[in-house]
Symmetry: C2
Subunit: 315 residues, 2 copies
């Protein structure tokens, strides 16, 4: 099984109220690939400049990550600088330097065309569309996006939404895109576009899974005492979600079993929680499958309750 | 088993973006008693004015609610007027008329002194303290409060906190009282006061249960398509929580089993969700134990996931 991802590989400078880290490995595709490569092979489509540090390439090569689709072009790597507020739930983008991403067009090596799962990280909808058209055989396509594209490229984004199976959005993004105050009403509008599943990310509150088949699942978040750096948590969520799905087979009708989709959302939350524990991909690069399994078990203890309660004679 | 509650009985005027209801039965003790009386007998301590409608008294009498501790005094009943914002998560208090509450001192009839459980709804900490001192034999004491008392009566409130077992607080109230950005750090400060359990209410995101014995439980919220009126949801939560606990016995050491406390928080969330479905106590007064059991079962389906996931050979 293999997972194709298209997205950014970047150098991030991140300020939190307690720390600052400069020009570390960042970008949605980096977080996603680091996370998903814990489960299966990842086929990466991205671009970096000639200034991209060799150590990052060496790290990516050390994982089951295929870099045939990573373009290395004369020029500067994409750079992002952000600052988190005291509550770590909101941030300001201080600087964005597109560098070589300005003229980027994804090229899919032949070996990528049989990728089983496809993740379109939050780059321009036009580029997402190019990749969708070039890799039409994936059994599940998953789309992420961001406020910028909802505001500046709504039409193209809608075109992409109409062609994928699963959409990842934060609560605020659902409200922003649909104009609905109610998440339930918003998700119904999204379903009208043809999506099969919508996953509504609720930050430190967990995530909700909605399916056109009536699936509804509220996944608890893993409790973290302290968040070091939430950058990339959403991409790590996607890595856990698709990573888990890459380890199971869909049913005869081509759909994944509801239980597997639930487990996948739980993996998403868990991997997202690990991502927050350190800057950049620092925690994800040391993460082991045993650590995921241990946290999975703890989340069961933290969130499950007696499933057999019924009225008693005393009532 | 019986549950003593002291709190407000009021006439509420509530505006939402879609509706308005005038001078309906409100007040923390009304919501709590209506909810908790689905499980056990409630001993009500409160005051109303001579203008308090007979129909409300008739309703309270129609339930297993003991009104011996309800003072009816010449004057006006407490009135509250509030308006909800479009998202229904925040509201403005437009008017508060204390009426007979201005000179209120709770008096506990002898028949109340053997109450097994005690709920101090969000009235002035001084009055909460009076009731605590008058009813020292309860096996579990639960305290609710509100921003007003954190700001204006912090010292007295702290005195009450030091004498009860369980504290109910919203996330914002925990941050406000402790000054901690992290809920985990905040709860540790609260435990230092001697509390055994803290329940952190997260509105539409559910609730967290923390215990000094290491208990941690994240209770999912019951998903509501639409919220008619969130007034009283917190008091209904307390009614479900204490109501459920009134149907089970504590362990030999006097503490409730962790599984029972978890179920109790789930009941709190469920009863809170019912309260939001209509104005005033309208939904709670028609609620049946079978409806609670049905919603309980659905919440299991909505939130539980495979509890046996472990690493597989394919990973």
């Amino acid at each position: 099984m293999s997972i194709l991802v298209v997205g950014s590989v970047a150098l991030d400078t991140v300020e939190t109220p307690f720390n600052r880290d400069e020009e570390v490995l960042g970008g949605a595709a980096s977080f996603f690939a680091t996370a998903a490569s814990l489960y299966s092979q990842v086929n990466l489509v991205a671009i970096v400049g000639s200034d991209f540090p060799e150590e990052h390439l060496a790290f990516l090569r050390s994982r089951p990550i295929n870099l045939d689709g990573l373009q290395i072009q004369e020029g500067r790597t994409f750079r992002w600088t952000g600052r988190y507020h005291l509550d770590m739930n909101s941030r300001d983008t201080l600087d964005t330097q597109l560098g070589v991403y300005a003229g980027f067009h994804p090229v899919l090596p032949g070996s990528y065309l049989t990728s089983d799962l496809l993740f379109l990280a939050n780059i321009q909808p036009e580029l997402q569309l190019e990749v969708l058209q070039a890799a039409p055989r994936a059994r599940l396509t998953v789309l992420d996006t961001m406020e910028l594209w909802i505001v500046t490229a709504r039409e193209k984004l809608t075109e992409v939404m109409k062609r994928v199976d699963v959409l990842l959005m934060s609560e605020e993004e659902v409200r922003q895109y649909t104009g609905c105050a109610s998440i339930f009403a918003g998700v119904r509008e999204l379903f009208a576009l043809g999506l099969k599943y919508v996953i509504v990310k609720q930050g430190s509150y967990g995530a909700l899974l909605f399916g056109t088949d009536g699936t509804y699942f509220s996944a608890p978040s893993y409790p973290l005492e302290e968040v070091s750096d939430p950058t990339g948590a959403g991409d790590a969520f996607a890595g856990g979600f698709l990573g888990y799905l890459s380890t199971v087979a869909p049913q005869a009708d081509g759909r994944y079993a509801a239980d597997d989709l639930k487990r996948a959302v739980v993996h998403g939350n868990l991997i997202g929680s690990f991502a927050c524990e350190d800057f950049s991909i620092a925690r994800l690069r040391t993460l082991t499958v045993d650590e995921i399994a241990e946290r999975y078990q703890r989340l069961v203890e933290y969130s499950h309750f007696d499933d057999g309660w019924h009225t008693r004679s005393s009532m």
